[in-house]
């Protein structure tokens, strides 16, 4: 794996962390909880991440 890919992942993770922090901070400052829509957005991101990993698995030939 190239270092460029690793750095891209780190930036992505940093962005995810920042988004999550903003989500929680906004909810707490507005005195409300996380909404169902916001949870659905996170679920969608996990679905996309799952597909990326599954595509990688499917691309590996069986022994």
């Amino acid at each position: 794996m190239s270092v460029v890919t690793a750095l891209a992942l780190l930036v992505q993770l940093g962005t995810q962390l920042s988004e999550l922090a903003r989500l929680i901070s906004t909810a707490q400052s507005e005195g409300r909880d996380i909404t169902e829509e916001e949870l659905n957005t996170l679920v969608g991101k996990d679905d996309a991440a799952r597909k990326r990993l599954q595509d990688l698995i499917d691309a590996i030939p069986d022994l």
């Binding site: 690793a6 929680i24 679920v43 990688l56």
Partner: protein, 233 residues
């Protein structure tokens, strides 16, 4: 004397990660005016600055060995680099024993974030508010599963590239099969964590105590998955 490109240096990679981790802490904490947070921000700032100096030193200064063992290793590494150049076999970070590879750094960063945010009460240390309500913990859980999958994808992609470089076709096939089995296992464990989160979410309006138990179960799966990946670099 032979040299390797800067991006193949495990030390440089490690320092870049340190800088990124430090910057995350500094930029997120500095938005709050709070004495404790300010002190933490100063420490985080130091943690970000020190690796910068180390990185600059690694890039522009000579790095003579400090011990006889290191000197002997230096000679060995130079011999291996010359041999690698002659046979066109890639040589790089593996010559710097004691440092993790880029893919493992990414994993460590991910799980460091997961462990800090989800499991410990130290979220404020990296500028993330501590989850207080059930839904906030649920949000952290979903984000953690997604991050785990993304980190695993990058890690296994790196392992596949490493396998592709093997000269023997049989060895290559065996390693690819092992990587596939490993990746499937990670995917299944992440699915288990996700299922537990989904169940917890569906139960929260009916039985909060059971939902809490499911949520705790999901986080335990994530911790187990973290330990599994850390022990199988």
């Amino acid at each position: 004397m032979e040299k390797i490109p800067w991006y193949q240096s495990a030390i440089v990679r490690q320092q870049i990660v340190m800088i990124l981790v430090g910057l995350v802490g500094v930029f997120k904490i500095s938005t709050d005016v709070d004495i404790d947070a300010t002190v933490t921000a100063v420490l985080a700032g130091i943690a970000a600055v020190v690796p910068v100096f180390t990185l600059v030193a690694r890039l522009i200064k000579a790095n003579p060995p400090l011990t006889d063992t290191a000197a002997a290793n230096e000679v060995r590494v130079q011999e291996e680099l010359v041999a690698a150049k002659a046979t066109e076999v890639p040589a790089g970070p593996s010559n710097e024993a004691g440092f993790v590879r880029a893919s493992m750094l990414a994993l460590l960063f991910t799980f460091g974030v997961v462990a800090t945010v989800v499991i410990t009460p130290g979220c404020a240390a990296i500028g993330v508010p501590q989850p207080k309500t059930f839904d906030q913990k649920l949000a952290y859980g979903y984000a953690s599963v997604a991050s785990t999958r993304d980190a695993a994808t990058v890690y296994f992609r790196g392992e596949l590239a490493s396998a592709a470089a093997l000269p023997d076709a049989e060895q290559r096939r065996v390693k690819e099969a092992a990587i596939k089995k490993d990746a499937i296992n990670v995917q299944e464990q992440a699915d288990n964590a996700r299922d537990a989160l989904d169940i917890a979410r569906s139960m929260k309006d009916l039985d909060m105590q059971s939902a809490d138990a499911r949520l705790a179960s999901a986080l335990q799966i994530l911790v187990a998955l973290q330990q599994y990946l850390e022990k199988n670099p």
